[in-house]
């Protein structure tokens, strides 16, 4: 492995934060599946191993679901307290060996365009508990804007009645996601309310799509074709080796339509393409 010359394993969070303050160029090391991936990829010269210091428990407290930043994707998938959509999202990291190491904190810290958990954390309005950053409790979107400090926990407030869904598109089961979409909403007799949509793969980071939310807020759940037609023009993906921009635009629109129907609990959602063996779309 390249690069690393200084590896430290502080014995307390306080010591970890001190080390980081003393060497701001040093990077946190949690599961290592991002920062240590690829034998010949460049690595930070200094790593502060917080893998065993970060809280790992997933628990309910004061009406909130609290997930330790050190909880692995497998911990999330295995925990009944976690909303089904988030557990499903964790399982879209199909590779079990990686799921056993990769953490929520690392998913946020890396902030990749196709991160599996971030879109759901955004649409479930997760708050992050952070040490050494600008604030100690802030929204996930706000933290992602500059990613300063060490995330300790992610909190999701109970929001009875809110439904959520997550879908992704990848070329094969173990592929990194090319497109992701998370939707949450409250379905009332009047239609979709408090609709939140976050998508990845369409820009350098996953983000909320306010323009789409506004488009469909308050409406009865539109047919999938209508969602596709309305949303596709709003997507501006780029061509890359995984697919052309034109395909991604079309595919993002179908994903969104399926995810909205899944979240709204429509019977139509059963026709989401999740039928591919092992590929949870």
């Amino acid at each position: 492995m390249n690069g690393i010359v200084d590896y430290t394993r502080p014995s307390s969070l306080a010591e970890a934060l001190e080390q980081k303050a003393a060497n701001p160029g040093a990077a946190w090391l949690a599961g290592g599946t991002g920062i240590l991936a690829g034998d010949s990829r460049p690595r930070p010269a200094a790593l502060i191993d917080v893998g065993r210091l970060l809280p790992r428990a997933i628990r309910m407290a004061d009406g909130e679901l609290l997930m330790g930043a050190g909880a692995s994707f497998q911990d999330i998938a295995d925990c009944d307290l976690v909303p089904a959509s988030l557990r499903e999202a964790a399982l879209t990291m199909v590779n079990r060996n990686t799921r056993n190491r990769a953490t929520i904190g690392g998913n946020l810290g890396a902030n990749k365009s196709c991160a599996s958990l971030i879109p759901l954390l955004l649409v479930l309005d997760a708050k992050l508990i952070v040490e050494g950053g600008k604030k100690t409790r802030l929204g996930a979107a706000e933290w992602l804007a500059d990613r300063s400090g060490l995330v300790l926990e992610a909190a999701i407030a109970s929001d009875p009645g809110r439904r959520s869904s997550y879908l992704r598109w990848a070329r094969s089961s173990c592929d990194l996601s090319v497109l992701t979409v998370a939707v949450s909403c409250i379905v009332t007799s009047a239609g979709l309310s408090s609709l939140r949509i976050a998508m990845g793969g369409l820009a350098s980071h996953a983000r909320r799509f306010g323009e789409l939310e506004a488009l469909f807020e308050g409406m009865a759940l539109p047919p999938r074709e209508a969602i596709e037609a309305a949303s596709a023009p709003l997507f501006n993906p780029i061509d890359d080796l995984r697919a052309s921009a034109a395909f991604k635009r079309l595919r993002a629109a179908t994903l969104l339509a399926d995810a909205m129907h899944a979240a709204a609990g429509s019977a139509l959602a059963a026709s989401s393409p999740a039928a591919t063996p092992g590929v949870r779309q």
């Binding site: 492995m1 390249n2 690069g3 690393i4 010359v5 200084d6 590896y7 394993r9 090391l29 599961g31 290592g32 599946t33 240590l36 991936a37 690829g38 034998d39 010949s40 690595r43 790593l47 191993d49 893998g51 497998q74 199909v94 590779n95 079990r96 060996n97 990686t98 056993n100 190491r101 598109w169 070329r171 094969s172 089961s173 173990c174 592929d175 990194l176 080796l241 995984r242 697919a243 052309s244 034109a246 395909f247 079309l250 595919r251 179908t254 059963a270 026709s271 393409p273 039928a275 591919t276 063996p277 092992g278 590929v279």
Partner: protein, 955 residues
């Protein structure tokens, strides 16, 4: 820094650098079961360990992070080399082919069974989701887990036996343990990388960043002066010989167009300079200190560009012919700058116009045939470049021992390797010993001498031991790939479907060098055209040089692309005529007793001849497939409005070695205790060839499998064999073993007759290890003892040589059912049935495993795999994150292999080849099924969602 942890129950304290991965530390400390298949990307899972109770990839963990942890590797599963329940189940279910992935699979299954005693299929998939295996097709892993799960409560549990054949024989046709499976499951030393000794030097290669360029200047002085650097090699100080890297029989049908290093660079990744240094780090550092100035040329990046008038010329050296003349009108004069090109004999080439080889021939009158047709269609099909991706990349370790060059190789062709390295280094063959180690997957890529020439030369020159292992990226860009082929098929037929004419025009992209440039594309014709009986047939094959990654052999050897084009075209014609596609096949297919005239023009390396086929099992295979798929019943319908179902069926064939060209030899020695030693020239790549040669000896000499030990592929010890290619293992190497055993049997009988004073005709070999006569009997042990005493007649050794003029064709019928999502273009494989005739299945479960593995590779090629290039000819997906090979999740829900044997009169115990043919069915069958589902023809593989939507006109 020090790190202390528990490894397999014992405390260890190691010194590790901050940047050392846990995988590298474990290997450094001799834990060979922890392997590396993806250079730390996290995709392959071969470096798996169990850390504090969870399976994880040790490449993405620093050794120092293991402080205070409990770590288990597969070594923990077994005591005193006895297989654990899981390892035993993997062996029993025939899951160990090359075995490179087996320790990782064993750990994943161990973890699964600890979590779930009786796991569901979904849990099994999930447990193995992070482990790549390129050999097995994963299907038999389900059986292994089931067996292991049952044995947890019932240690004596045995799965019901699979299909058995040849009731008259003891071992042949029955499942026996693969002879190398146990050692591989235990993770013992077996592969080249396990042989490297302390003090070995490491090689690193500076590679061309340009697809096409001259080296204007190269300065290695600084690199040479760096610490640890032993030697730097470039075109300025390497031997001058040109050769082909193709491990084919001599004289090769591939041009000699490659020097060890050249001034001209012909693809991104071409060799610029090699550094030999005392450590990998020092080698890598020295590479950076080499200064090169390039004169960049316009590259040739497609077949169309290679053909174009005024195209850049990939090879501009002088062209000469050892035998024969240059074709009229071609230029042979070199530019005085580029390396020469030597053809062993003419291949209708014109290298200065990028034409590496060509051939055209046929039977009947094609124009007349089209004139007689009621319907004529012409379609063009394209198969893109795919990579063999053996889990163990190319690797070699060479050293000098007693004045000779000893090469530990991961190769399919030990004897061709010896010849080519001796030529490249400039020494005689008796100075070179090649030891084929266990091979972690070859699939054709290891039929070429890709790194042994330079390693052999540097070991010979410096006297140092030299180790070189390709990175995964190098494996993609500087190993061998399947040729891109563009095949135009024109078919004419009567209304009832009878073909009146077939024309196949095939253009292939051989890449920068001409290894296999004629034979691979030619095989696309010769393993597809003879499936259809048509009086008027013609083919035209052209193979072009380009500046893309080198092409070469890949399981199926061109046949999958020919099969894709011809079988799909036949189905397109059926659709045009309103016929059922199987009726169309039935109308035209080869059948028992048919005279195959086209073989006249398809001679491989010599004139061809028409053949009258004996029995052909295709009818039975088609019947079984049609029954399983209820072909004549109502079409299956999807209950989901987004998905449409479709079915496809194809017939396929292959050969069994190269009759009249190749030969194999084996020797069998009777040892003092009545056991035997098989010395087989054959190169077992994980295919089970060593098991087959053992079986031949055990069967013929009335022994148990454990009474036979095999040594194979060692050029000093075992006799010559052509190598493992062209589906020749069973037929050639197997037959050589049969003959060696028969020869030894005859000698045993003759000697026993003398000792017992009986007529040899009255003596028989009896189980176990006895010779029985009318009056007396003698054991093989006693016979061996007596033969080697002062009064004996000398050690009893049998020798077998096999060569033949007989062509044995295995046939197959593959059936597929797909679901296609009409909104997203996604293709889901619901069912895949492979009915195949491999003659007598010598070891049925291993044969079935070979077929599963072959089919899944072809599914990967059909649906996901494609090497992609940017505008400068650089491959942009040379890794497993971007280039997706199938995992256990990609296997069809109903994946079924059935053997339909038609014994061959010449094959060993009636056996024929089995694995290569399995790759010929998926692409056409899936393409036909997609059309059946959504009415769109997919004529370019892979059939990505995007291509499906485009074909459907939705994009």
């Amino acid at each position: 820094m020090k790190v202390s942890f528990k490894l397999n129950g014992r405390s260890v304290k190691w010194d590790c650098e901050a940047n050392e991965s846990l995988r590298d530390a474990l290997r450094r400390k001799g834990i060979t079961s922890v392997r590396n298949g993806c250079d730390g990307e996290g995709s392959c899972g071969l470096c798996a360990v169990i850390l504090d109770g969870r399976p994880v990839n040790s490449c993405q963990i620093l050794a120092l992070q293991a402080e205070g942890c409990e770590l288990a590797t597969v070594e923990q599963q077994s005591r005193e080399r006895k297989l654990s329940i899981v390892q035993r189940a993997l062996v029993d279910a025939s899951c160990v082919q090359c075995g490179y992935c087996t320790p990782a699979v064993a750990l994943a299954v161990q973890d699964l069974l600890e979590r779930s005693k009786d796991p569901s299929e979904e849990e099994i998939r999930d447990a193995l989701s992070g482990t790549l295996c390129r050999c097995t097709g994963y299907e038999q892993f389900y059986a292994a887990v089931r067996i292991a799960s049952k044995r947890l409560t019932d240690p004596g549990y045995a799965d019901p036996a699979g299909p058995e054949f040849r009731k008259d024989l003891r071992h042949v046709g029955k499942d026996r343990e693969k002879v190398d499976a146990a050692a591989l499951a235990l993770g013992e030393k077996a592969f080249v990388e396990d042989r490297v000794e302390a003090g070995a030097c490491h090689l690193a290669m500076l590679r061309s960043p340009h697809a096409h360029a001259w080296i204007k200047s190269i300065d290695t002085a600084e690199a040479e002066a760096m610490s640890g650097v032993v030697e730097v090699l470039t075109y300025l100080n390497c031997p001058g010989a040109v050769y082909t890297t193709a491990g084919q029989g001599f004289p090769e049908p591939s041009p000699y167009d490659q020097r060890m290093f050249s001034k001209k660079l012909r693809h991104v990744g071409d060799r610029v300079a090699a550094v030999l240094a005392e450590s990998p780090e020092e080698a890598a550092a020295a590479l950076k200190a080499i200064k090169v100035e390039y004169e960049v040329l316009k590259p040739v990046l497609s077949i169309a560009q290679a053909k174009a008038a005024g195209a850049p010329v990939v090879h501009s050296g002088a062209v000469s012919y050892v035998v024969g003349e240059a074709p009229a009108g071609t230029s042979v004069e070199g530019d005085g700058r580029d390396d020469p090109i030597i053809y062993q004999f003419p291949l209708h080439a014109d290298p200065h116009h990028n034409l590496a080889a060509s051939v055209a021939d046929g039977i009947g009158d094609i124009e007349k045939g089209f004139a007689e047709a009621d319907v004529v269609i012409e379609r063009k099909y394209k198969g893109n470049r795919v990579q063999c991706t053996p889990m163990e990349p190319h690797v070699v370790y060479a050293k000098i021992d007693s004045g000779r060059l000893v090469i530990h190789a991961s190769t399919q062709v030990p004897w061709h390797l010896r010849r080519i390295v001796a030529t490249a280094v400039g020494i005689s063959e008796n100075k070179v010993r090649v030891i084929k180690e266990r091979v972690g997957g070859g699939f054709g890529a290891k039929q070429d001498i890709v790194l042994e020439d330079v390693v052999g030369y540097l070991a010979w020159k410096t006297g140092r031991s030299v180790f070189w292992r390709y990175s995964r990226e190098e494996e993609f860009v500087a190993s061998r790939t399947r040729h891109v082929m563009e095949v135009t098929v024109k078919l004419g037929a009567k209304r009832d479907g009878t073909l009146t004419a077939i024309l196949m025009r095939l253009d292939a992209d051989t890449g920068p060098y001409g290894q296999h440039c004629l034979t691979v594309p030619m095989n696309a014709i010769s393993k597809s055209l003879p499936l259809l009986l048509c009086d008027n047939a013609r083919f035209e094959v052209k193979s072009y040089y380009t500046n893309l990654s080198p092409a070469g052999a890949y399981q199926g050897y061109g046949a999958p692309k020919g099969s894709f084009a011809l079988q799909t075209a036949l189905a397109e014609l059926a659709a045009e005529l309103g016929l059922d596609q199987i009726d169309m096949i039935e109308k035209n297919r080869v059948r028992s007793g048919a005279r195959i005239e086209i073989l006249k023009s398809l001679g491989e390396g010599r004139p061809g001849a028409a053949v009258t086929l004996g029995e052909c099992g295709l009818g039975e295979m088609l019947d079984r497939g049609m029954k399983a798929f209820a072909w004549r019943g109502p079409r299956p319908e999807s209950s989901d409005r987004d998905w449409r179902l479709g079915r496809g069926a194809v017939i396929i064939q292959q050969g069994s070695g190269l009759p009249g060209l190749d030969s194999a030899n084996a020797e069998l020695r009777l040892l003092r205790d009545g056991t035997v030693l098989m010395l087989s020239g054959g190169a077992d790549l994980g295919t089970g060839l060593d098991t087959l040669t053992s079986k031949a000896a055990a069967e013929i000499l009335g022994l148990e499998m454990g009474d036979v030990a095999v040594i194979s592929g060692d050029t000093d010890i075992t006799p010559f064999d052509k190598g493992a290619y062209a589906s020749s293992g069973t037929f050639f190497s197997g037959n050589a073993a049969v003959r060696a055993a028969e020869d030894l049997r005859d000698k045993i009988i003759a000697t026993a007759a003398l000792i017992l004073g009986e007529d040899p005709a009255d003596l028989k070999i009896a189980h176990r290890g006895m010779v029985k006569g009318k009056k007396g009997e003698i054991s093989l042990a006693r016979l061996a003892h007596m033969s080697t005493q002062g009064e004996g007649h000398g050690e009893l050794v049998g020798f077998g040589n096999f060569k033949t003029e007989h062509a044995a064709f295995p046939y197959g019928a593959h059936f597929v059912q797909v679901a296609v999502n009409t909104r997203t273009g996604e293709v889901r494989l619901d069912r895949y049935h492979a009915y195949q005739d491999c003659g007598t299945p010598i070891n049925p479960a291993l044969a079935i495993g070979q077929i599963y593995g072959g089919v899944l590779k072809a599914i990967g090629h059909s649906l996901y795999e494609e090497m992609l290039y940017d505008d400068n000819g650089r491959c942009i997906n040379a890794n497993f994150l971007d280039y997706k090979i199938p995992t256990i999740n990609e296997i069809p829900k109903d994946f079924h292999v059935e053997l339909v044997p038609v014994a061959d009169e010449v094959g060993p115990f009636g056996g024929k080849s089995v694995s290569e043919i399995a790759l010929n069915g998926a692409a056409p069958a899936i393409s036909i099924a997609i059309h059946d589902a959504v009415g769109a023809w997919l004529r370019e593989w892979p059939f990505t969602s995007e291509r499906v939507l485009r074909a459907m006109g939705k994009l």
